[in-house]
Symmetry: none
Subunit: 205 residues, 4 copies
Amino acid sequence: MSPKVSDAYKEEKRAAILEGALHCFTEKGFQATKVEDIVRHLGMSKGAIYGYFASKEDMYIQMSNGRMDAMVQSLHEQFKNMPGATDRIRFLFGRFRNQSLDEIRKWMTFHLEFMLYASRQPALVDTLAAYSNKAIQLLREIFEEGKRTGECRQDLDENAATYLFWAVRDGLALQFLLDGEAADYGRYLNEAEQMVLRYIGNASS
Amino acid sequence: MSPKVSDAYKEEKRAAILEGALHCFTEKGFQATKVEDIVRHLGMSKGAIYGYFASKEDMYIQMSNGRMDAMVQSLHEQFKNMPGATDRIRFLFGRFRNQSLDEIRKWMTFHLEFMLYASRQPALVDTLAAYSNKAIQLLREIFEEGKRTGECRQDLDENAATYLFWAVRDGLALQFLLDGEAADYGRYLNEAEQMVLRYIGNASS
Amino acid sequence: MSPKVSDAYKEEKRAAILEGALHCFTEKGFQATKVEDIVRHLGMSKGAIYGYFASKEDMYIQMSNGRMDAMVQSLHEQFKNMPGATDRIRFLFGRFRNQSLDEIRKWMTFHLEFMLYASRQPALVDTLAAYSNKAIQLLREIFEEGKRTGECRQDLDENAATYLFWAVRDGLALQFLLDGEAADYGRYLNEAEQMVLRYIGNASS
Amino acid sequence: MSPKVSDAYKEEKRAAILEGALHCFTEKGFQATKVEDIVRHLGMSKGAIYGYFASKEDMYIQMSNGRMDAMVQSLHEQFKNMPGATDRIRFLFGRFRNQSLDEIRKWMTFHLEFMLYASRQPALVDTLAAYSNKAIQLLREIFEEGKRTGECRQDLDENAATYLFWAVRDGLALQFLLDGEAADYGRYLNEAEQMVLRYIGNASS
DNA sequence: CATGAATGAGCCTTCATTCAT
DNA sequence: TATGAATGAAGGCTCATTCAT
């Protein structure tokens, strides 16, 4: 009796729509993307979409939530069995390097735009803040542990370190948002890693 | 024959409109801001604006150009008689600290949104790239000189340093875009300064 | 997959819109007719029209092309099996007489206004000229044949005759554009026919 | 005490405005001509015009009245001492031939457009009809006299002749409204003259 | 009187959403 | 459920006219 197949089908379709919409939103921006664009890109009809999402904005929000969930989730997973502050930081930078610049750009573009959008919709700021906090928390724990284990200098301000970490990472992606070589981006990521490690480490490191 | 109102008056008005529009754009975003909003905020009539600007987009572009010109200009000016790479970096961070967080947010919000917008308008990407290059150039020169004078370590990649500098600065502003305490922001700026100086400096510094 | 409404339905609607718009354009003129007027007259919504026509101007142009096509087409058809220059001229005047004065007025009003409009739009002058040439050509062939068969005097200037024919016809409609009795119009048409026949014929006729 | 100079000056200015406006109206059409266009063409200010005319429409109407007055007036004058129907017809055609095709086009364009415009303004139709009647009357008198003197055939319908005369003349101008050679226009005018004379004359002529 | 900046009603067009089929 | 034609509110821009200087 349970319509499992149907449910699976629906979920698949939902995901497909989200993917198609993401493509359009990244390409043209949320406001400039017409429902017609999404529909044409997906080869479906206008009305169909409204069976899965209440509105264009609804798609945007669910899309953003999905992406942020996935990111936080994946970081948590991968940190499960990873010890050491330095290793974790290195691991994170490794992850950043392994993402193609194109992907970074897409994600950054999408994320920035959604951030600006959400910051103006009172109903969304809390969600946004929650995700932000999770990313902050994730890093702070690293630095806190690093100080306990002595990997980080004792006078390190773990909050500052956390913010600086994300600042460097987001800021670098920002510099490459519009153009720039992937090779340069990779090189600068390496330098950023050095800079951060030097900053958090003991004087001797 | 003589103009009814002086050129100075017109320029004043132009500036006033730009200021009012900036207020609205920062508050609600470019696309979400209706011409009606700007006009109401300024207490003028709808048509009046079109004597000064060709379109809403024209206002946006001129506004952006004006701000970027001013920024680049002011940096150039203040660097005239300032020697030493370290001093210049310190000076820049000082400047950053002296701007109120509110101002930073406004500027950052505006700039990010314009960047996203312009990146999708072929006619604007070049302008955007030009301004970006000026900021890059400004910093690169500092690090190049720093290496000449020995203030920076000889193996410093001045390009990397340049990008990292802006990444830290922009990235930090980004973390505080939606919320956060001014005090924290200031503290982290200090830390950022330490991080950067440590990164570019000689091992002994 | 199959269209919700048939192509025939769409074509019907297109024609209905064109007819409604024609009514309004003839009544108030193209520029003075608001899209709102057309829509109200047709009992449809504003947006609906834009599924069939790209703009108010597009409707105007297609309308004009349709009418001119139909006219040229119908004349060609009816000339297929009609011999003799005199008979053809008589046939044409018969046609003119059979059109109600009201129809003539509508068509003339529409055509004149479109002509004035199109003459100021570089993109339309060629189309206009093409239709005009077709009407000219149609008549010239009559007079050329008339000279071959001896129905027309040998020293007749077929170009002059062509232009005079249309001049008389259009000019007469022009005199009755604003007011005048249908009976008078019919009578003058008869006289016009005599005048033209006398002009093109042999001295003896 | 009488401000004669001032009055003359005003009248001069009024005429200048009318002339400038006529230029614009003929070039772009009444509705498409912006007050700004007229003002720029004349090198005066927007407000100035409203000291002489109540509105754009007012200019249009007065302009039309002026032109029609002048035309009717001039015909009347020149007919004062001219005897004979045939001579008068010849004289009229001579007048038509002496006008440059460019002038004809301007006048025709202006007149047609005003006619279409006025026909939709109840307040103007009477004025329009009055002028039309004057032109009709002028010609009818010629043919009436022609019948009295025997220059025209006795069974001539003077009303028909009148309408046909104007039809031929207006219709021919209409054919040349958009393009065509002045030489052709002149030739066809000659032919038109022959056609009309043949039509109104005795069988022997 | 002249000037031209300001006014603001008006209009074409767009596009998210609905709903009859 | 899917379709896509229809809806209609909304918004950028125009331009005849006014009026403070």
